[in-house]
Structures are given as structure tokens and as C-alpha cells.
């Protein structure tokens, strides 16, 4: 790991919250506009964040707070590792640990709403984890390495040969970003049968931590999407932004589905598409490891 990788990773750690917060702000603004409203200012997420920091401390158990810190720090670790061009498999394993920390935090409070939310959270992980892992495998089949650096060395856009895997990643993205139709464990919107799902029992600065983690997560996921067009990178960034916009549209044209729909869609469609894509690679594009 070179010094350059270190500095890029650290820079990402510092910048990601700003980018993520701003993107979330734009998200809320655009959503409002799609609903015919003016919507909040695009800095709204930062206002929310600092307001939450200033609230009185209140908690249900210490355990839940500890896990939330784990959620934040591990997500930060994944962001660092992605930008420092490390092994994608390991990054997604750590991301899974981070996601599990969120579930643990919700589990450690004996509140029905947060516990049902936590169960749904792990169901979400069951839905998106295979897609992410298989997408990494599909990338590997093209680049011959699991390292992010390999994608940059690969030189040509992955999107050409991995179109179906890309679509599958979009499904995982919808789940991970908690957008309709898959916002089942905790919704960005308030009106949900589980109140706020896994976040129900957090308040004040700990909610702010969760918000911060979401910003990191957003950056991580969009950076992963950008990898599908890593050379030149600016196209990848545009691609990621376009995907984010697409997610907003999807969020606004779909009702929330239930977990069994989510599972069957992500497994049947998502995993199926990637499998198809791998077969396509074998049949038409050629597997780099066999060449």
C-alpha cells in the first residue's frame, strides 16, 4: 500500500461526509420537487446533524450505543479501504460486519419496534450481500483481481461487459440506501409501520452518528458504482450520480414491498442477472483467467 493510497483513503475519510451529506440534501430537494414541493435547502442534512448533536443525551442501553460506534467506525474503514484501493471482497465483508453492528445495536434494546427492525435489517443483508459479492466476482472475471487497483489498471469500462451485473447492483443499492420499494427495516420517510425501525431507540447525537454513517455508506456505494466506469473516472462519477438520480426516481414511483418480495426479487432477479452475466462473459467476452 503506497503513500498515495494512504493519502487518497484519508482524504476520502475527511471528504465523504460532506459529499454524502450534500448528496442526501440534494436527494431531499429533488424528492420534494418530484412531489411538487419546494423542499428543504440542500444543506438541510447538515442542519439536522448539528441539531441532533446539540440535543440532550438520552439512551436506553449502553450496548446499543457501543454498537452504533462500531457501525460508524467500520463503515469508515470500508470507505478508507475502497479509496485506498484494497481488496473488494474484504471491503464487503467489513461492510457486512458494519451492517451487523447496526442490527446488534437495535437488538440490544428490548424494544419490539427496533428488534423487528433488526430482523428485517438482517433480512436485507441476506438480500443484498450475495449481489454485492457476486458483482465483485463478476468484476474479478474481467479484471483478474479482487483489488480496486486492478480495476483502474484494467483500463476499459466494466459496464460494457457487465451490464447485467450493473443492473443487479442497482437492486442491491436500493436496499442498501433504504429506498422504496425496499425500505423495509427503516425508512427515510417517517410513516412506517415500525416507526423508525432500527433507529427507533436512538436519539440526539447517536442518531447523528447514524446519519453520518449513512453519508459514508452513500459515498461507498456510489464509489463502487463508479468503478463500473473507472477509466476515465469522471464518467464513473457521472454514472454514479446518474444512478443516484435513478434511485430517487424509483423511490418516488414505487410502494414499499414486503421482505419476502425483496428477497425473491433480489435473489431471483439480482443473482439471476449476475449469473447470466457470468455466463455471457464465458460465452462472448472471454474470461481473463482463461486467456
Amino acid at each position: 500500500m503506497s503513500g498515495f493510497d494512504w493519502s487518497v483513503g484519508l482524504a476520502a475519510l475527511v471528504l465523504a461526509p460532506f459529499v454524502g451529506g450534500l448528496l442526501r440534501g440534494i436527494d431531499r430537494k429533488l424528492t420534494a420537487r418530484m412531489q411538487g414541493r419546494i423542499g428543504p435547502p440542500i444543506w438541510q442534512q447538515f442542519y439536522d446533524f448539528f441539531k441532533l448533536i446539540g440535543k440532550a443525551r438520552a439512551a436506553t442501553t449502553k450496548g446499543s450505543l457501543v454498537w452504533i460506534w462500531g457501525y460508524l467506525l467500520l463503515t469508515m474503514l470500508t470507505v478508507f479501504m475502497l479509496f485506498a484501493q484494497q481488496d473488494l471482497l474484504i471491503i464487503f465483508f467489513i461492510l457486512a460486519f458494519a451492517g451487523a453492528c447496526l442490527a446488534f445495536g437495535a437488538f440490544s434494546v428490548r424494544s419490539p419496534y427496533s428488534q423487528i427492525g433488526a430482523h428485517r435489517e438482517i433480512m436485507q443483508m441476506l438480500s443484498y450481500e450475495p449481489i454485492l459479492l457476486l458483482a465483485v466476482v463478476a468484476i474479478f472475471l474481467q479484471t483478474g483481481t479482487f483489488k480496486v487497483s486492478g480495476i483502474f489498471e484494467y483500463g476499459q469500462p466494466l459496464l460494457f461487459t457487465l451490464p447485467l451485473a450493473f443492473v443487479a447492483v442497482l437492486i442491491a443499492l436500493t436496499i442498501k440506501l433504504r429506498k422504496s420499494p425496499f425500505d423495509i427495516s427503516a425508512s427515510e420517510h417517517a410513516h412506517q409501520e415500525l416507526v423508525r425501525g432500527v433507529y427507533t431507540e436512538y436519539s440526539g447525537r447517536f442518531l447523528a452518528l447514524i446519519e453520518l454513517t449513512h453519508w459514508y455508506e452513500l459515498v461507498l456505494i456510489l464509489a463502487f458504482v463508479a468503478l463500473f466506469w473507472a477509466q476515465p473516472l469522471w464518467v464513473g462519477v457521472l454514472l454514479a450520480l446518474a444512478v443516484y438520480f435513478l434511485e430517487l426516481i424509483v423511490d418516488n414511483v414505487e410502494a414499499r414491498l414486503q421482505w419476502n418480495w425483496m428477497l425473491s426479487i433480489s435473489w431471483a432477479a439480482g443473482v439471476g442477472l449476475i449469473l447470466l452475466n457470468i455466463i455471457m462473459i464465458e460465452m462472448f467476452f472471454g474470461n481473463v483467467l482463461r486467456l
Binding site: 431531499r28 420534494a32 412531489q35 411538487g36 414541493r37 419546494i38 423542499g39 428543504p40 435547502p41 438541510q44 447538515f46 442542519y47 439536522d48 446533524f49 448539528f50 441539531k51 448533536i53 446539540g54 440535543k55 440532550a56 443525551r57 438520552a58 417517517a190 410513516h191 412506517q192 416507526v195 423508525r196 433507529y199 427507533t200 431507540e201 436512538y202 436519539s203 440526539g204 442518531l207
Partner: protein, 141 residues
Amino acid sequence: MGLVAKARVKSPWIVHYCCSSCNGCDIEILACLTPLYDVERFGVLNIGNPKHADLLVVTGPVNKRNVRVLENIYNQMPAPKLVMAVGACACTGGVFHNCYNILGGIDKVIPVNVYVPGCAARPEAIIDGVVLALDKLSKIK
């Protein structure tokens, strides 16, 4: 901390509780969130969970059963918090003043910071109330 104080005014999250209201004010509060009035311009989110909220919006008079719910929700909100009573009933009991199961306005149970008159309170009045509440928030140190 200046940043926090500034942010506080920009991001009041509300939790709405309907005591024994006739729904008239409730639907007007919801109407405030919808495109034509859109209080999210002021950063208002209807968050639905007292633990996340800064502003408790109450409609309707308190009755003998929901008095404990109201107290509980108020206690679960972390400081700094404000209470807004929307509609004649929430302020004083209104037209239900002589019903046997009614205790009266919600200020008999929890301290109220902003009273919004009207039956039902018009969305404009509610927005005025929110603005007034923000003004009060900015004075909290």
C-alpha cells in the same frame, strides 16, 4: 455553540399526537406537509417518534385516558423541546369544554409554548405557529 444553535432553528422535527381531536386539525397539519404548504421548507420533518422530535404538535383536548400518553410522549422527547397546541380544543378544550371525559386544554398536562387558534386551525396559522416556535427555539441557549 453557535453552529448547533443555528442548526436547531433550521431543523425542527415534529411528532404529532392527536389527543381527542375531531381530526380537523390533524388533517390540516398533514396538509401543511403536502405540496401546497410544504413546511419542509423550514426543515420540518414529521418524524413520528418522540425520541427524535424537537417539537410536539398536539391537537384536540386531553381526555382521561390519553393524558398519560401525552405525558409519556413529552417525557420521551429529549431537550430542548417545544410544545405546540393546535386548534381551539388543544388550547382550551374548545367546543368540548363541557364533555365529561375531557380535562381541557393540553396545558393542563404539559407546558405549552405555542398556541395556534382556529377550528380547525388553518395551515397558514400552523405555519405561523411553526415560525413562532422556531423563534422560541432560537432563544434556547
